[in-house]
């Protein structure tokens, strides 16, 4: 549905690119988890999709149409729920929805229907007449999402939608996101909570300093991380131990701790035997697959 190819963007006066040759695709009914530390370029990408900044280099296509043309024909096909509470605090939930439904060019029965649908979807009916400024953080997030859903978008960009929400609202929002994907909406979900992305995303893209480090299915990405062996020694390792272990994987040494990211097909027994042979005494070992969080940190740390 959405195809981004070779997208680069540099803000006026900036030395570095905010986005540097980024290529991502998003499919209907799937959730793309977009990860990256602060300043990675996630918001710049979202601003491109929202039409707030123009493409400098590369292309963004929505069903074969350039993003400019697609937005010109129907700007409501893509909706963005920003990280900010982008609504009017002194207005009630319904008044806020009425304002944005009007901005979406909906009137009369279709406007009322959209408001009722979004109130129900986000379970905000009981707070329909409450001013937004009096809502809790979780309900504000729901309102932020409800506004984005008014136009029943084909592509929904959610920017940190669970920041500062209680567990109940978090669960509701995550279920809502999965429900939207199940109904055919394409979603881009940015978050700093890796466990959330791991729980709901079908695909993951990792941005760092404007560059795309990885873009794959979640399953492939996790398996790509491979296995890792963490060894804690009793005393500092012999000088040649790191070199000995390098034949089994990429080695990081820090004080008494050694981490070996095992090459494909290598079992942990071989590096452990090498440590033993070097004369070093092992206090503790850990072996396992990388989680998304570990993978993300590893990738962004090395890049």
């Amino acid at each position: 549905m959405l195809k981004i190819r070779g997208l680069s963007y540099r803000y006026p006066g900036a030395e570095a690119h905010a986005l540097d040759n980024v290529s991502i695709s998003v499919t209907r009914g799937r959730i793309l988890g977009l990860l990256g530390p602060n300043g990675a370029g996630k918001s710049t990408l979202a601003d491109h999709l929202a039409g707030l900044i123009k493409v400098q280099h590369g292309t963004i296509e929505l069903d074969g149409l350039s993003i400019t043309e697609a937005r010109r024909r129907d700007p409501t096909r893509i909706a963005v729920a920003p990280q900010n509470f982008a609504f009017y605090p002194v207005l009630t939930v319904t008044e806020n929805l009425a304002c944005f439904v009007a901005a979406n060019r909906l009137r009369g029965a279709s406007a009322r229907s959209a408001i009722e649908r979004c109130l129900a979807f986000t379970q905000l009916e009981a707070h329909a007449d409450t001013r937004a400024e009096h809502l809790s953080g979780g309900f504000r997030r729901r309102l932020n999402l409800a506004i984005a859903l008014l136009s029943d978008p084909e592509l929904l960009v959610l920017d940190e939608p669970t920041v500062g929400v209680d567990p109940r609202s978090r669960a509701l929002l995550l279920n809502a996101v999965k429900g939207l994907a199940a109904s055919g909406t394409a979603l881009i979900y940015t978050s700093h909570y890796m466990e959330e992305v791991e729980a709901i995303a079908d695909d993951v893209a990792i941005l760092h300093r404007g560059r795309l480090l990885r873009h794959n299915t979640l399953k492939n990405l996790l398996s790509e991380g491979g296995a890792h062996l963490q060894i804690t020694l009793v005393e500092l390792p012999p000088a040649d131990l790191v070199q000995r272990l390098a034949g089994y994987g990429r080695v990081r040494a820090k004080g008494l701790h050694l981490t070996v990211e095992l090459f494909s097909g290598i079992s942990p027994a071989a590096p452990l035997a090498a440590v033993d042979k070097s004369g070093a005494n092992i206090r503790e070992t850990r072996f396992g697959q990388y989680s998304l969080d570990q993978l993300f940190r590893r990738l962004t740390e090395y890049s």
Binding site: A50, I78, V80, A98, A102, A103
Partner: protein
């Protein structure tokens, strides 16, 4: 789309008590307070001044003089021995002293060696009022002297009317009122001031929406920039019209209830008034939108807006009327948009001017509004980024 955004703007404004107070209560209070405070400055009525007469004479001429003066100025107040202190303190506006020998001097063909009638005024008496009293005093004594000389030498002087008052006619061109009152000056002045106060309301809300990301969100939905600007401007036209209606109502109905003078609307040209109010609104909103696009924080919006308003008001003759300013300041006043608005409204409310007579002021206001709106429209897209 536009209607929904306008409704939102009005709802947000209606729930901001501070903005409502600044837009409606503040100018109304200014009209009332300043009209009473500056009442005598705008129209120092000579017949309402507190005065006393000290007479060392008990002659017919002195009695006639006092009778003539009291007919015009009301009865003189009784003076205690320490009346000079009361005069210095302003509890008395002036005192007339009829010196001994006044009757003789007036009936004599030769001028007296010293003044026989003295006018002493309190330090704060308006210079214009003092000169008017002096002229009236001179005229009264001239009449008395002419009559006395005629009675003294009837053969020498023919029996003709000698009073020079009959030779001079003074008329101030006006409509149904003799001269502008404090209310007639203050209602338009503070109305213009209040209308320009939309600057703070618009700029403050704009900063809030920019920070919350609602402007960007609306742009993301595909709301064109011009619609966003229009949706911000149009509600404030309604606000300005409501302000005009309220301030004029304060002048017409409330001021007399409080014991002040009423603003008279008899004979005014309503289309001209509508045009001037519309032009002031256009200029104020254009200026407000430009400022909104320039400021980046609430602190800037809340400080810069009122500060510029007060400066424009001070220069433009809102706080201090231009006629009391020195020439250089009067020239500077002509560059203040608030002065254009004030002069336009005075043209209608005081001089009963029609549309064509307001055009110089309306033209300047519209040009100012168009330039500021154009600049705001150019800056607006840059300010909606998240």
């Amino acid at each position: 789309m536009l209607a929904g955004l306008i409704r939102k703007e009005l709802l947000v404004l209606s729930r901001d008590p501070h903005a409502l107070a600044a837009l409606f209560l503040m100018p109304a209070v200014f009209i009332i307070v300043m009209s009473f405070a500056l009442k005598n400055m705008y129209a120092p009525s000579l017949d309402r001044l507190a005065y006393g007469i000290v007479s060392s004479e008990n002659t017919e001429i002195a009695t006639r003089f006092m009778h003539i003066w009291e007919n015009t100025h009301g009865p003189a107040l009784g003076l205690d021995p320490n009346w000079t202190h009361a005069l210095r303190q302003g509890r008395l506006d002036y005192v007339l002293t009829l010196e001994a020998g006044m009757a003789e001097a007036i009936s004599s063909p030769h001028p007296p060696p010293e003044a026989v009638v003295r006018l002493q005024a309190e330090p704060g008496l308006d210079q214009g009022a003092l000169r008017a009293l002096q002229a009236e005093l001179t005229n009264s004594l001239s009449d008395l002297r002419a009559s006395a000389l005629q009675a003294e030498w009837p053969d020498l002087m023919p029996a003709v009317t000698l009073s020079i008052l009959h030779f001079v006619a003074v008329e101030q061109i006006s409509t149904d009122t003799a001269k502008p009152s404090a209310v007639q000056q203050n209602v338009p002045a503070w109305l213009v001031f209040g209308m320009f106060f939309v600057v703070t309301a618009i700029a403050s809300l704009f900063v809030q929406e920019q920070r919350d990301g609602t402007l960007a969100r609306l742009a993301g939905i595909g709301v064109p920039h011009r619609i966003q600007v229009l949706a911000k401007a149009l509600p404030y036209v309604a606000v300005n019209i409501a302000q005009a209606a309220l301030m004029i109502a304060v002048g017409v109905y409330l001021m007399p209830l409080l014991g002040g003078e009423a603003l008279s609307l008899a004979g005014i040209h309503w289309p001209a008034l509508t045009l001037v109010v519309g032009a002031v609104s256009f200029a104020a909103i254009g200026f407000a939108l430009l400022l909104a696009c320039l400021v980046r924080t609430h602190a800037q919006a809340n400080a810069l807006g009122p500060m510029l308003n007060i400066l424009m008001a001070a220069f433009g003759g809102i706080m201090v009327p231009t006629f009391v300013m020195p020439t250089a300041m009067q020239t500077a006043a002509t560059y203040s948009p608030m002065n254009w608005g004030l002069e336009g409204l005075l043209t209608v409310l005081l001089r009963h001017g029609d549309v064509s007579e307001t055009l110089p002021w309306v033209g300047r206001l519209c040009l100012f509004g168009a330039i500021t709106l154009l600049l705001a429209g150019t800056l607006f897209p840059r300010r909606i980024k998240r």
